[in-house]
Structures are given as C-alpha cells and as structure tokens.
C-alpha cells in the first residue's frame, strides 16, 4: 500500500499536538495475539474512523484506548496522558453501544445526560445553572430536547443512541470516542447523528474517533480511515484512497465498502 500524500492545506503534524497517540501497541489474550505493533495518531479536530472486520482487534484496541485494558507492549497517550490517568477524564467523551443500558431503567433523558455532566462538575457536587444549560444544549445538538422528559427505555434505538451521544457531548470533550454508533440505527437518526458530529468538530474543534465497520451518513465527512486487519493497521489515509488501495472493510476479504460507492 502506498501512503497517501498529505492534503496541501493541512497543518503540519508536528505543529498540532496529537490528541491520540498509539505507538507500537501489542496485546494478547493468553497465546492469542490480538494486536501486533499498532501505531497511529489522531490530530486535534480530526474526524477519524477505525474500521475492520470482526476479530480484527478493533474492540480490544478500543478497550485499551479507554484504559479498561493495559497494553502488553507499546504506549498509548490520550490528550497527553496514558488512558485512565488524565487529570480531567471528562475531556474524553465515550459513547458505548446502546445495548449496555439496562432495560426498564426508570431514568429520563434529562437525568441520563445530567449524570454525564456530573463527570465534569465532580461526583459529590450539585449541578449549577450553567450545568443545566449545558445539558439543554447537548440535548438540542442531537435533537432529543423534545424527548427530555421521556424515559430512556421508551425510545427507539436511534433515539437512545443520540441520548448517549448527548451524554458524552455534555462535558464539552476534546475527544469523542464512539463504539459502533450507527449499527442498526434508522436513517433519520443517522442524519441527526452526522449533524451532531460535524457540529462538534467545527464548533468545538474536538477530535472524533469512530470505531465501527459501517459509517452510514458520516462517510463523506471523515478526514481519515484506519483499517485494522488481523491485529495490524492495513490502511491509514483519506477515505477516497481506500478503494484504490484494494483494502476492503467487509467481514469477508472481498467485500467492497458499500458506503464509498455512494447512492445507497
């Protein structure tokens, strides 16, 4: 594969400190080597997708980035600190797969988003008027403000997903990490989701790392795509170069990345 030339207008990588830096990271479950020497960086304000088929090591890499696992070798820094060691952890917003929310939870949309804001305020403190405004703003930015008094589990999958995004956005993070955010989400929610991510990038200058094998509505907004395959980076470049590189994103070796074809 040939490394794509950097776009002419881009700031040189050295000038903007990397928001995410992964250097030669390896990880094994027992004898099963899941990641073997993965290196990449995400710059300030960049919108990057980390793709790869099931079993490529994507989920393990995500857990390493979140500090839920520790690498066997190599180094990871997020906003200048190792995962889980950041003095202000709320600067990283994390959107899990929506399946994690317990069924029957009586919490409303506002309560879930406000609980996210507490990460920035401090867990023993009370929310201030400014915090409540931030909660309102986050709900508006993903178009769930009109659902604010509804219970989370009454909402559709796409609506729940947007609430979890609002919960991650509410701390005004510098880096947003999303795990399979568009899997099984309706097209209206995908479009709103795209607007929210683009808004976050342009208004707040936050970097976004999307861990997914489908990109839905955001495909055209990505700055870069990283493809993980069998525990190593198989492609790192702008999405337009991906087809030419011959690296596919599918579960099977010859699947074409449908989202790049347009028109679907």
């Amino acid at each position: 594969m040939t490394a794509p030339p950097p776009p002419p207008a881009a700031t040189p990588a050295a000038a903007t400190p990397a928001v995410v830096e992964v250097a030669d990271v390896a990880f094994s479950y027992g004898v099963d080597e899941v990641l073997r020497g993965v290196s990449f960086a995400v710059a300030d304000g960049e919108f990057v997708a980390l793709a790869g088929p099931n079993g490529s090591g994507k989920s393990t890499l995500l857990r390493l980035l979140l500090g839920l696992l520790a690498p066997a070798r190599g180094e990871i820094t997020l906003l200048g600190a190792p995962p889980g060691r950041l003095a202000e952890p709320w600067r990283i917003g994390y959107v899990p797969q929506r399946t994690v929310v317990p069924e029957g939870l009586p919490a409303t949309v506002t309560e879930v988003v406000a609980a996210g804001r507490l990460a920035r305020r401090g867990w023993r403190r009370r929310l201030t008027r400014g915090d409540r405004e931030a909660v309102e703003h986050a709900m508006e930015s993903v178009a769930v403000a009109d659902l604010s008094d509804r219970r989370l589990h009454e909402l559709s999958g796409g609506q729940q997903q947007r609430v979890l995004i609002a919960r991650a956005l509410v701390t005004d993070p510098d880096l947003l990490i999303l795990d399979e955010p568009v899997a099984g989400v309706d097209t209206e929610s995908q479009a709103l989701f795209r607007d929210a991510l683009v808004h976050l990038g342009t208004e707040h200058g936050a970097a976004v790392l999307l861990v997914s094998h489908e990109f839905g509505a955001v495909a055209e907004d990505l700055d870069r795509v990283l493809v993980l395959r069998r525990g190593a980076i198989a492609f790192d470049g702008p999405p337009a170069d991906l087809v030419a590189s011959g690296v596919s994103l599918g579960v099977h070796a010859h699947d074409l990345p449908v989202w790049l074809e347009g028109g679907t």
């Binding site: 979140l66 500090g67 839920l68 889980g84 950041l86 202000e88 952890p89 709320w90 990283i92 994390y94 899990p96 994690v100 929310v101 317990p102 029957g104 939870l105 009586p106 919490a107 409303t108 506002t110 309560e111 879930v112 406000a114 609980a115 996210g116 507490l118 990460a119 867990w123 023993r124 929310l127 008094d149 219970r151 989370l152 979890l164 919960r167 991650a168 701390t171």
Partner: protein
C-alpha cells in the same frame, strides 16, 4: 420520649408511636438503597447481608455485646467482601451472594447453638419485633436512617451514572469501585436498621418491593426514589394499623402490604396498556 404525643388510634399508645417512628424510617429509607440494587440486578443482596447480620446478632448475644454493633460489623464486612468478589471476577454476583447467604445463617445457628441462646431474643431479630422497640432503639434507627438519606441525597446522580453504564462511568472518571462499595455498605446499614422492625429474614423485601411498585408509576429516576420511599413508609403505617386491628404479626404484615402495592401497580400498568 413520645409518651405525651396525642395521636389518633391506632397510634395512641407509646409503643405504637415508637413502632410508627421505626417503621416509617425503615420503610422510607430501605427503598432508597433498593432502587439502585434493583437496577444493578442485585435485588437479593439485601437478603444475603441479612443472613450475615444474623451471624453478627448471634455473636452479639453470645458475647453479651449489643447485637446492633455486631450485626453492623458482620453485614458491612460481608458487603465489602461480596463487592470485592464480584468486581474481581472471582465469583459471579449471585454465586458470591450464595456463599455469604448460607455461611452467614449457618454461622449464626452454630454460634447460637454453642451459646445456648436460640430463644425469643434471637427470634426477635430474625422475624422483627417492632412492638417492643424502645426509645433507645428508635433513636438508633433514626440516626442510621438519617445517614442513609444523607448519602443518597449526595450521591444519587453519581450512582445513576454507574447504573446507566458502569464502564462509561469509569471512563468518565467516576470513582466506580468506591461508590459501589459505599452502596453495598449502605445496604448493610439498612439491613441492620430494619432488623428490629421486620426482621432479618424479611428486611430485604422492604428494599425491593416498593421499588418494583414505584418504577411502574414514577416518571423519572428521582421520582422513583421518592415514590418508592413513600410506598415503603406507607406500607409501614398501613401494616402497623392492620396488625393492631387484627392482632397480626406486624413486621410480616408490613411486608405483605408492600407486596400488595407491588401487585396492584403491576395490574394497573397492565390495564393501562
């Protein structure tokens, strides 16, 4: 202490007024902790801690120490141990519970057997004895209840963040292990608070049944806490009144009223649908 209060029947006598105070405190505070346990699928934690507290009560009676202290020590230590086993992945939540559940009651029986004290004083803690609550008991119950309320008022939103998604809460910097431990410790305190009222075998019911009722009718998490607390306190009042009217076992009657409210909201929710 409350002798001069002029309350209407059935709370016109001092023993009924002390029972009312103890019952309302326990009925009102147990569901506050239970709301979080139910969401975390740990509804039976209270039961396991109750069995451990029995070992503590038995030790207290055997060694002539106030059983509230020994029960508190046994159940808080058990809560910490269960939480440790659960989070380290040494045992699944329900298996860790089973271990303590049965060891607790077995240890209690062995200790009471050795001390020859399997009599009314022990049964009082197993099945509750709300009508013999004295002013000093009522004061202890009120203080422990106040601790539980104060903790919940401060940390409910942080605990909600953990209930929604423990992993995301950890990533966001919430002290997840510490807060889980605090919740388990508060569950242990609640058990000890309730043991004189409904007994160690039934106190966990007051942590869970009002919550089951409340989450069907309440519109938010915060209102679930408030409604569950109100249903728990209301069950205590109604249960005591019924117990006096028909000479029923008061602790068990309170639990039956709470169970009735759970069934009633289930029926109402079904009809509404």
């Amino acid at each position: 202490m409350l002798a001069s209060l002029a309350l209407p029947w059935p709370f016109d006598r001092e023993y009924m007024q002390l029972a009312l105070l103890a019952g309302v405190v326990v009925g009102g505070t147990a569901p506050l902790i239970g709301t979080f346990l139910v969401q975390k699928r740990l509804s039976l934690l209270g039961d396991g801690l109750g069995h451990l507290a029995f070992a503590g009560v038995a030790a207290g009676i055997a060694f002539d120490v106030w059983p509230v202290w020994t029960a508190l020590i046994a159940s808080v230590a058990g809560a910490v141990a269960i939480e440790w086993l659960r989070t380290r992945g040494h045992a699944a939540g329900d298996l860790a519970l089973a271990l303590f559940f049965y060891s607790g009651i077995a240890a209690g029986v062995v200790i009471t057997g050795l001390a020859g004290s399997l009599d009314a004083s022990t049964l009082r803690y197993l099945f509750g004895s709300i009508l013999t609550v004295e002013a000093s008991d009522a004061l202890t119950i009120a203080i422990l209840g106040a601790v539980v309320v104060a903790v919940v008022v401060v940390v409910w939103r942080a605990l909600l963040a953990i209930v929604v998604d423990e992993e995301a809460a950890r990533v966001a910097g919430f002290p997840v292990d510490g807060l889980n431990l605090l919740l388990a410790a508060m569950a242990a305190v609640t058990i000890v608070t309730g043991m004189r009222v409904v007994g160690l075998l039934l106190v966990a019911a007051l942590m869970v049944l009002p919550v089951g009722a409340a989450q069907r009718v309440a519109s938010s998490f915060r209102s679930t806490l408030v409604v569950a607390s109100a249903i728990g306190a209301g069950s205590a009042v109604a249960g005591l009144a019924a117990a006096r009217q028909w000479a029923l076992a008061p602790g068990a009657t309170i639990v039956l009223v709470a169970a009735g409210s759970f069934l009633a909201t289930a029926v109402v929710a079904q009809v509404r649908r």
